[in-house]
Each structure stands twice: as structure tokens, then as C-alpha cells.
Amino acid sequence: MAAGAADAVEFQPGIRRRRIRWRRYIGLSVPALIALVVIVAGVFAELLQTHDPEFIDLAARLAPPVFDGGTWAHPLGTDELGRDIYSRLLHGARVSLIVVGIVVPGAALFGTLIGLVSGWVGGMTGQILMRVVDLQLALPAILFAVLMASLVGPSLTNVIVILLFWTWPSYSRLVRADVLSLRERDFVTASRSVGAAPWWIMRKHLLPNVLNTIVIVMTLEVALVVLAEAALSFLSVGVPPGTSSWGRMITEGRDTMNVAWWPIWLPGLTLLIISLTGNLMGDWLRDALDPRLRNLR
């Protein structure tokens, strides 16, 4: 009797579900908060900055951050040219936001489309599309970036174009795999047998079923894209000189690494935290939406 009463309480849907839901979202709250901070920093960089990010002040070069004996004039110190690191970090966030904001949705859109078509049409067309997709594995993005930089010089547009080219195949590969199994399912064959148009089936049956996969991959790609942009800028084939990017800041901080820790540590830690945030959000989404994608990366 006593046990039965306990079970009855346990299974009262309202109480139990609310508690679990609340706990599930704890894991998401910290990364979401960090993401929000980065977005605000990037969007309102001009309002939040204390100095012009590219303003060179040789008198104030290598001023330490305020928590390491510096003054509030430069809260996070200055680099070897006296540029304010706090303001540069804000503008670096903007560069990352622009790159992520264009590359991730763009690649997802295009990659999904190619994946849907090659999975649905199959045959020769599908095979050819998949060979193009495989090209991503044979031509590292960095080589492509290097080629473009050597031809037209480094630019933000280059970075975006290269990362778009480099990231869309990930979506195609996963979407195609999903579509190949979905197309044999009853609800799809039923639609086909009553004469539904391919585009209608793709929109109404296939797309909703692959949406989870796409959202998860998009979240996981954020960190990858941010790190890739930083790496390209670090190699000086990414964002051109005179633009504040976290990758460039690390390159520039390298020369004074032995005398001042902050010009290289602060952008490095920022990058680490951002990509950690992206990965944690992606992992959380994957566990919540689709645990079978655990081996994605």
C-alpha cells in the first residue's frame, strides 16, 4: 500500500516533468549566457569600446591589465603598439559574428539542398554530387585560403567564401544518409504512390525529419568556423591587417610573448571559451534531440 502511494506521487505528471525539465536546462544556461555576451559585444562594439581598436599609442604600449597592476584607462591592457586590448576583443567578436552569421546558415542551406537532392534522386546524379562533396576531404580549407590570399590578397570576403565552400559538405553527407533511409519509409512511399511531387515530399516529409540533424551540426560548426577564421587570420591569409580579429591579435602578441602575457593570453582564452561554448551547446542539443549522432566528430 505504502509503495503504491509513493508510485502514485512519482507518476503525477506535473510535478515530475517540471523538475526534470528545469535540471535539463542548467547545462545550457552558462553557454547560452556566454553566447549572449559575445553577441552583445560584437553588435554594440562601438558603444562598449573605450578606445578606437586600431588607435596606435606608442606611449602606452604594453600597459598591463587592471588586475595585474594596470590602470582603468586600459582595462585589459594594451599590445605592443599601444592599442587597447578590450576594445580590440570587442571588434574581434564582431568579425567572428559576421563570419559565423554568414557561413553557418549559408552552408547549412546549400549543404542541405544538395544532400536532399542527391539522396532523393540517387543514381548517377547522386554519385556525382557525392564525389564533389568528398572533395572537401581532399582539399583542406587552408590550402584554398592560401591560394586565394596569394592571388587577391587577404580579405574578410575571402574568409567567408572559403569557409562556406569548406563547410557545406558536412551537412550534405549527413542529410543524404538520412534521406536514403527515409525514402524507403512507409509515409514516403505512400506519398509517392498517390502522386506527390518530389518537392512536396522533400518539404513536408524529408526536411522536417532531417531538421534536428541540421540544427545540431550548425551548432557544432560554430566553434569550428570561429577557430578556422582565427587560424586563417593567424597565418595572415585571413582577415587583413588593420582589422581586429582574435587570430590576428594572437599573431601580433607573439613577438612580445616573453615580456607581456596579456596580448596573447587574452585573445587565446577568449577563443578557447567561445569554442568551448559552441561545443557544449552542440553537445547539449545533440543529447536532447538526437543521441545517435554521438559519433559525429
Binding site: 576531404l137 592560401v146 587565446g268
Partner: protein, 312 residues
């Protein structure tokens, strides 16, 4: 017979991919770039010299003829002449550096495998323990760390502060290889460890492992013969597929550690405006990736008996 058919098809695919890369490099460079501006010194070149240069390189020919000539040259092993360094063949310059890049890549993979496989196995067998927790922590941090920043930090701590390793270059043999290999291998380490762990967890749950235990095999035999062998199959596949990423990684790491490999040659050539060198190095790297992928695919058929059985 089946095997030879497969090999020929895979070979054709590899050639196709390489050809596609060559084609992309050719058309992107001819359409986006202006060879007379990238290859000739700016300002000092007169208009007649520019015209002579165009004629000399066949730039006045229609694009498809240029493309044909480009392919014929490549086929004859003529990858162009470096614009710097007194007209050395680009292929020779790449050949001089290639061994260093291979060394770095192999060292990175060996480092990753040597740590990731044991850690992944232990984490899977002792799920929920400190080791498992530690492995997951390493995975989360390792995947988020920018390799170039990690490299710089290691130089600062281990080379500058502690003086254990040289700060760069390849003069000190094995000692100078350690830090670059760690920086390059960390990302692969995480990927391999995750794959090993989940593969191991999966396989230890299967019927044939239960059977092996039931017939009284020692736990060691069960783990190594039945578990690990099975769990490592996807690792081999992933290693093959990650080669492109690895080569991209060596470009970055070579710049961080002043490692005299092909990647650094490429970046140095860009800074010196040496376009033929950049072009040749990209083609060589892409072709070697295609070749190694082919090798991995073929060797996979020897490792996994099911694939061989499938074709019989």
C-alpha cells in the same frame, strides 16, 4: 579478380579527385588572379616587358589551350619554376621539404594514437570513474583549444621558461619534434579517443563478447581479441578521412614552430609573392592526400574481413 576491379575503380577515383583539384587551382588562379601582377615585380616592369611575359607564358592563348598545356606540363613532371631563388624547379624545392612534413604528420598521429587508444579503452571499461571523467574533460578542452595558440603557449612554458625544448626549427632532431607533434596531434587525439570509447562501450555489449566470456576466456583475451580489434575499425577509417585536416594542421603548426616543411614553404612563398611555388605545393599536397586516402581504403579491406566476405 574482384580486388583488382576494386583497386582500378578506386585508382580512377583518386585520379579524378586530383584532376579536379588541379582544374580548380588552374581556373581559380587564372580567373581570379592576374599572373602578370602576381608574378612580375610591380612598378618596375614596363608595358613591353609585360607583353613579352604574357607571350612567353602563353597567357595570350585561349583559356582551354592554356589549360591543356598546363596539364601536359604537369604530366611531364614540370610543376613550374620558382619565381624566387634563381629559377629552381618548384618540385625540387617541395621535395626537399616533404620529408619534414611527413615526419611531423606521422609524429602527430603516433602521439595521438599512443595516448588516445589506451585512454579510450580504459574510459570505456571503467565508465563513470575518475579516468572516464578525466578523459571527457581532456576531450572537451582539447577540442576547443586553437592549436596555434596551444603551440605558442607550449613554446613559452617549455622552451622559453623551462628550456626543455628548442623554440623552433628542426635542428635538434627528436627533441624539436615533440612540441609540434603534441600541438598537431591534440585534435586527432580527442577524435580518436571519443571513437574508441564509444566503440568499446558498444562492442562490450554485443553477443559475441558475451559468448566469449561464457566460454571462459580470460577477461584480457575478451578485451583485446574481441573488444579492441573491433572498436578500432572506425578509428582506421577516421584517420584516413582526417588526413586533409591533418595536412591543413601541419601548415599552421609549421608556422608556429618554424618547422621547415611544405606548409611553411607555402606561406613563405605567399609573402614573397612566389605564385608558381604556391600552386605547385597545393597540387602536390592534394595529390598526396588522394593517394593516401586510396591506400587507407584498400588496406581497410584487409583489416575488416566482412568487406572481403561481402564481395565474394
Amino acid at each position: 579478380m574482384q580486388f583488382w576491379n576494386y583497386l582500378i575503380i578506386r585508382l580512377i577515383q583518386a585520379i579524378f579527385v586530383t584532376l579536379l583539384v588541379v582544374t580548380i587551382v588552374f581556373f581559380v588562379s587564372r580567373l581570379v588572379g592576374n599572373p602578370e601582377e602576381t608574378m612580375l615585380p610591380p612598378l618596375v616592369t614596363s608595358t613591353e616587358d609585360k607583353e613579352r611575359f604574357r607571350e612567353l607564358l602563353g597567357l595570350n592563348d585561349p583559356l582551354h589551350i592554356q589549360y591543356g598545356n598546363f596539364l601536359i606540363d604537369l604530366g611531364q613532371g614540370d610543376f613550374g619554376t620558382s619565381w624566387r631563388g634563381g629559377g629552381t624547379s618548384t618540385l625540387d624545392a617541395i621535395g626537399d621539404r616533404a620529408l619534414n612534413t611527413v615526419k611531423l604528420g606521422v609524429a602527430g598521429v603516433v602521439f595521438a594514437l599512443a595516448l588516445a587508444v589506451p585512454l579510450g579503452i580504459i574510459a570505456a571499461l571503467r565508465r563513470g570513474t575518475t579516468v572516464d571523467w578525466l578523459a571527457r574533460f581532456v576531450a572537451v578542452i582539447g577540442q576547443a583549444t586553437p592549436s596555434f595558440w596551444l603551440g605558442l603557449m607550449m613554446i613559452f612554458f617549455f622552451s622559453v621558461q623551462l628550456g626543455w625544448f628548442p623554440t623552433g626549427g628542426a635542428e635538434d632532431g627528436f627533441r624539436s619534434l615533440i612540441l609540434p607533434a603534441i600541438a598537431l596531434g591534440l585534435f586527432e587525439l580527442v577524435a580518436i579517443m571519443r571513437l574508441t570509447r564509444s566503440g568499446m562501450i558498444e562492442v562490450m555489449d554485443t553477443d559475441f563478447v558475451r559468448t566469449a566470456r561464457a566460454k571462459g576466456l580470460s577477461e584480457r583475451t575478451v578485451i583485446w581479441r574481441h573488444g579492441v580489434r573491433h572498436a578500432l575499425l572506425p578509428v582506421v577509417t577516421m584517420l584516413g578521412l582526417s588526413l586533409g585536416r591533418l595536412i591543413g594542421g601541419t601548415v599552421i603548426i609549421e608556422m608556429v614552430f618554424a618547422w621547415p616543411g611544405v606548409g611553411r614553404l607555402i606561406i613563405d612563398s605567399i609573402l614573397k609573392n612566389d605564385f608558381p611555388m604556391v600552386q605547385a605545393a597545393i597540387i602536390v599536397l592534394a595529390a598526396s592526400i588522394a593517394l593516401v586516402n586510396l591506400f587507407v581504403d584498400v588496406s581497410y579491406r584487409f583489416i575488416d574481413p566482412r568487406i572481403r566476405a561481402g564481395e565474394a
